[in-house]
Assembly symmetry: C2
């Protein structure tokens, strides 16, 4: 165990609350009632200025009056009154706190100051706390609920970490009606002390939590998030909804918990790097999280569909197909086993369509058992298991034909032992998701849900949850994380950077940049730096025609746009012409004559880019994608936090939207992925070896034959 | 009105049913009960071999025994018994039928034969019918429900057309619990007679239907679908879920209603062409359809968000942003009006975040009114309106503090007059969607739903429904559909095709293909066809270096791959070399010397493709997208059914995934959209002017400066 303080906070033996009273319309009272009524067996104390009893328990004027030191203090009083009482808890030795109170960093300059004071006080007394501006924590292991909403019923294995209190406090009814059960939940608020990574680490280690759902608006410590999530995802799935990528979403988030939203593409790269499954709705957050928390791990992507209707069956098939799963046609042998069980003309080739046949035992037990034991599939999506829900919907029509039978009696008569059906996935150790248009009014929906088989209210959602399991299997099958190969800084690189800094350069010239990169084994185009027409001619002959002729100066950054690059120069006359044109052009700009690069003409029609970017929140990130003149128009770039190992770089490269560009086509060979991964991994180490490097831009990285070669490079030096 | 027979079928004055009995477990009985119990005021007859009364109504042995001719006959008996009784209805003059019975085309060769016999019988007697293998029709105007599920409650303005019976019959409970009310619904089954376009035409004309949702697995008459949908969408929204694009989806669909699934990209183009909004889930089909059916038309894409919590507010903002809506920051003026209404530090800049303030009148009435009247937005998405739902969720905790007050009493005491809230969108003539984690257990959810304000169970869905309205506004704002400009066939084109056919060619050679296209004003590269080295030299000089040298023969289709194309030829020696190399190459293949094309070298780095494809279901389609060597790797092509007007072509072109390629970037000008649209519209007319043309492939269509020029062209002649 690397994490213990947050586990202690989640398991207090005694709690004191400030801000609860006997007035049911006060938030503090509602929080207190949750602590008192949902099963917490520890001690409870209330701090109240006037009341002697709060909610039937003795109340104390000050923490200093308490008969003992509570493990956890909880604050629901106005922010202006918070500090003194918070400090008093420090004085009596309370080590953990939850600050529900809002009005801090999210509320302007005064709030920022108050939050600083709160942090300072906490630090002084060694208090670790959640919040401020949060909705509390839930730990069903000990019946602890500090939110405003009652949380009862059987606990479940899903853990929730949320930067919005709503998703802990306002969705209780929603989750209950969908059979989704949380075991642990934490509303983070402003994260003045305990932050999202602390809680993630705890949930990762918590044995009762089998999957973690996270609602995220901002991650402040990107590096630690990556480190912690990377340790968890090989054995426990993490589902993330990240919000804030849009300008308005960011504006909303900033005022919400005072956190800055970041660039969506950086977050997207981070989540992929960490092996986190990203969803784009709160419904996916809960639903896919629940499926991952409850179902046996899937072993492949071959899915069977069992349905009582063609439409939903087709919808499931289409959705699975779009998400990288297959719906294989069953073998003749398997079909022959299924055929006698379903109506004569009903399809049995996958989907199995029962049509409107209502023998539920066959549909929910016999056929799933056959299919799961066939060795032909890895998971099952089912639509149409129903009994009491459908019958209660049609009762009003049938009642005349069943005189004296009430709806309740009819439904009672239909209740069956469905143990065999709900155990199917666990008995066969194979995941199943269910689609049903009837909610818990139907016995099947209710019993599936109560036995940890996830039920969704549409075929597409049941398919998406199955696809999430396949996505997680791919994450588990990734090569184990490893540090990038060790690399020593080269003398060449150190010298180039030292000289450039001495000269006060903000960037290296192209020749130096390529020399630097080349010293680490990154392939760059062959070239010579020349300072006269005669040198230019010599260089061109030595390199061999055709050549490229370009201006080379650390202060000239956009050479192509300024007409300072001449491609495909075929003979001596053209070399001299290009050299002359470049010098005339810089002269017109009022500059001194510049050095000129004579380089080989790298043949290759595929142009990528590779680089290092800088972001205030993410630090240095590695970028790879479609480059050349189509960089912006195609906009197909992936990011990773540095450093990146070769195997990680290989995965990153295959994630681009147009991965076919890397494969063999139109007579071009497949790109050498080994070379490419090595280039990217090496590149990702540059900012670690040379912290003065702020950005690197190799664009284009031309694929010549199968080999990527940097034909242009820019290195920006940081301040 | 262009459509009357289906309107008559939907409005029978009398119905006879075959297959109903007094046994409640029979499907026929359930269909009959729906007719009898859901408000249909017309006459009802049962045909039964033995019973004298069915469900309290006199039963007859044969249609020939009926006291009068029913308008509509309905069949729920086994398929082998169908034909004689169907024919008997023909004999007594019944003109409309619904065949619920399955076991036809979807059930193999015997079924196909039976369906042919059914069609023949119907034709002989002039019977128009829905089905077979369907779930019936619903027309709430006259209380008519022929499905198996009770459909009661107030009718709504949404029309549903479905190729799956499930979405008419099994979702009654689902829709009711979501407040979605259908007015008309038709389950199509195998479409042996009445097809999806007939029903669409009817719904388009039906004044009570304000939006149409369609579940589609296959459209047999693509041309008529386009014609009919195109007439409807300018004034009534159509939402479509198309299923069958995947191989498994197609397999499921084929066995479902015997229909062949088609290529997803052709359907996608068809829907865009028709102005139909495509969704990818049944939930979207119902939910977005319902929003479009109920809400005032939106006038722009500026959306306000009003929420009681930051998380859902941010989620709504992000989702809207991703779907092409904006969430503009409010003016200082508007913020100043809102500020006093919400807690001191709560954000009011859009999203307006009430925080956990529970003054529902301010949230649901005062602020929406202010925002809607500001002129700053075009629609509102709201999250967090709640009262009784939340209170009933927390009652168990509060009950001790309210001794003697039952939950029901507490909730009753909370019921408010919310008329002002639910009228907001209609009063202000501006659409609103609502997100709520409480279902109809909450007064707000229930009353919103009952008053035609759509409520969704997640912030993202409420945002998506708003985005669907914005999408529909864009459809309404499109240029009115017009026929392509009139075009006469050219003598050149007729001559080229005639000669090619005379010679038995399956394709035109490149030179002829370009001559043909050029005769219609499509820009093609300048070139000459030559038959000797001397002619080649003359041509190159006349055209001007650099030139392209290629083999030109109708039987050589993949010239580049065979090394028969030489680009960028700069002088006479190179011309002769290339000419010679081509002839040697074809000689090695055992061919006679070929004609050679000498063409100008078209400068331009942007390569598109334009063409005409052939599909057995869709016929000729126009294609446009990213071309050149990246055609398959980038895979960015759009399709339209021919012919296509210039304004339609312009819209199609802007739909590609990488539209920035058409704009100005990296020193290249914006592509001349007028020229491009004209080329595409002209191209789309080729198969109409020359039906013998099966396919055309102009790839690449190089953008030279701003002008697209075809530098290669292939025309395949049909059989």
């Amino acid at each position: 165990m690397t994490q213990s303080f947050f586990r202690e906070l989640m398991n207090p033996r005694s709690i004191a609350i400030v801000g609860a009273s006997n007035n049911p319309s006060k938030m503090g009272t509602m929080h207190a009632l949750s602590i008192l009524k949902d099963g917490f067996a520890g001690k409870f104390f209330a701090i109240h200025p006037t009341e002697s009893k709060v909610l039937g328990h003795p109340a104390y004027k000050s923490p200093l009056d308490l008969p003992e030191t509570p493990d956890l203090a909880m604050f629901v009083l106005p922010s202006k009154h918070l500090l003194p009482v918070f400090e008093a808890f420090g004085q009596i030795g309370t080590r953990y706190a939850i600050v529900i109170t809002a009005g801090f960093k999210e509320a302007g300059a005064d709030g920022v100051r108050l939050e600083e004071q709160l942090k300072e006080t906490a630090k002084r007394y060694g208090i670790r706390f959640v919040g401020p501006n949060c909705m509390g924590i839930v730990n069903r292991d000990i019946g602890l609920n500090t939110s405003v909403s009652p949380i009862t019923g059987r606990p479940g294995p899903l853990g929730l970490i949320s930067q919005s209190g709503t998703y802990v406090a306002q969705t209780v009814d929603y989750l209950q009606k969908r059979g989704i059960r949380l075991g642990k939940a934490v509303s983070l608020g402003n994260e003045a002390d305990i932050n999202i990574v602390d809680v993630l680490e705890y949930m990762g280690e918590d044995p009762g939590t089998t999957a973690i759902s996270m609602y995220i608006e901002s991650i402040r410590d990107v590096g630690r998030f990556l480190e912690v999530a990377r340790k968890i995802t090989p054995h426990k799935p993490i589902v993330v909804q990240y919000i804030g990528g849009s300008e308005a979403g960011g504006r909303a988030g900033l005022s919400h918990t005072g956190a800055m939203a970041g660039k969506d593409y950086l977050y997207d790269g981070l989540f992929r790097q960490a092996g986190v499954i990203r969803v784009f709705s709160v419904e996916g957050l809960y639903g896919q999280g629940w499926a991952l928390a409850t179902q046996p791990r899937i072993q492949g992507n071959r899915i069977a569909i069992i349905t009582n209707s063609g439409g939903p069956g087709s919808a499931i098939a289409d959705t699975l197909d779009a998400l990288g799963c297959t719906v294989p046609a069953f073998s003749e042998e398997l079909q022959a086993k299924i055929k006698p069980l379903i109506p004569p003309h009903a399809p049995c080739g996958n989907p199995v369509d029962m049509t409107f046949a209502l023998d539920m035992k066959i549909m929910t037990e016999t056929i799933p058992d056959l299919v799961m034991n066939s060795g032909e599939v890895d998971g099952v999506v089912m639509h149409g298991a129903m009994s009491t829900g459908f019958m209660s919907a049609v009762y009003s029509h049938l009642s005349d034909l069943m005189p004296g039978v009430t709806c309740e009696e009819m439904l009672k008569g239909m209740i069956r032992d469905v143990t065999g059906s709900v155990q199917i996935p666990f008995k066969n150790n194979m995941p199943m998701t269910v689609s049903a248009f009837f909610d818990r009014c139907d016995q099947y929906t209710a019993e599936y849900e109560d036995n940890n088989v996830p039920v969704f209210d549409s075929p597409e959602k049941a398919a998406r949850a199955m696809a999430a399991m396949v996505a997680y299997q791919r994450i588990q099958n990734r090569a184990a994380y490893e540090l990038p190969a060790d690399l020593q800084s080269t003398e060449t690189a150190c010298r180039i950077l030292k000289e450039a800094k001495k000269r006060g350069q903000k960037a290296l010239d192209e020749f130096s940049a390529k020399q630097l990169l080349g010293s680490y084994g990154i392939p760059v185009s062959r070239e010579r730096l020349v300072h006269s027409p005669a040198e230019a001619l010599d260089a061109a002959v030595a390199i061999g025609f055709p050549v490229v002729v370009k201006a080379c100066d650390p202060e000239i950054l956009h050479k192509t746009e300024q007409g300072l690059v001449y491609l495909n120069i075929r003979n001596s006359d053209e070399v001299l012409g290009a050299y002359d044109a470049i010098q005339q052009s810089v002269q017109r700009q009022g500059r001194q004559p510049v050095a000129v690069l004579i380089g080989e003409m790298t043949a290759g029609t595929r142009e990528f880019l590779a680089g290092i970017t800088w972001d205030d929140q993410f630090g240095h990130c590695l970028a790879f994608g479609v480059g050349g003149i189509f960089t912006e128009a195609i906009n197909d770039i992936r990011y990773r936090v540095v450093p990146v190992s070769e195997s990680e770089a290989g995965a990153m490269v295959r994630e681009i939207k147009h991965p076919k560009l890397l494969s063999a086509f139109r007579g071009m060979p497949e790109v050498n992925m080994g070379s490419l991964s090595k280039i990217l991994s090496t590149l990702s180490l540059m900012p670690l070896l040379h912290p003065e490097i702020r950005e690197i831009d190799m664009n284009p990285l031309i694929v010549s034959g199968a080999e990527p070669v940097a034909v242009d490079a820019l290195i920006v030096i940081g301040t």
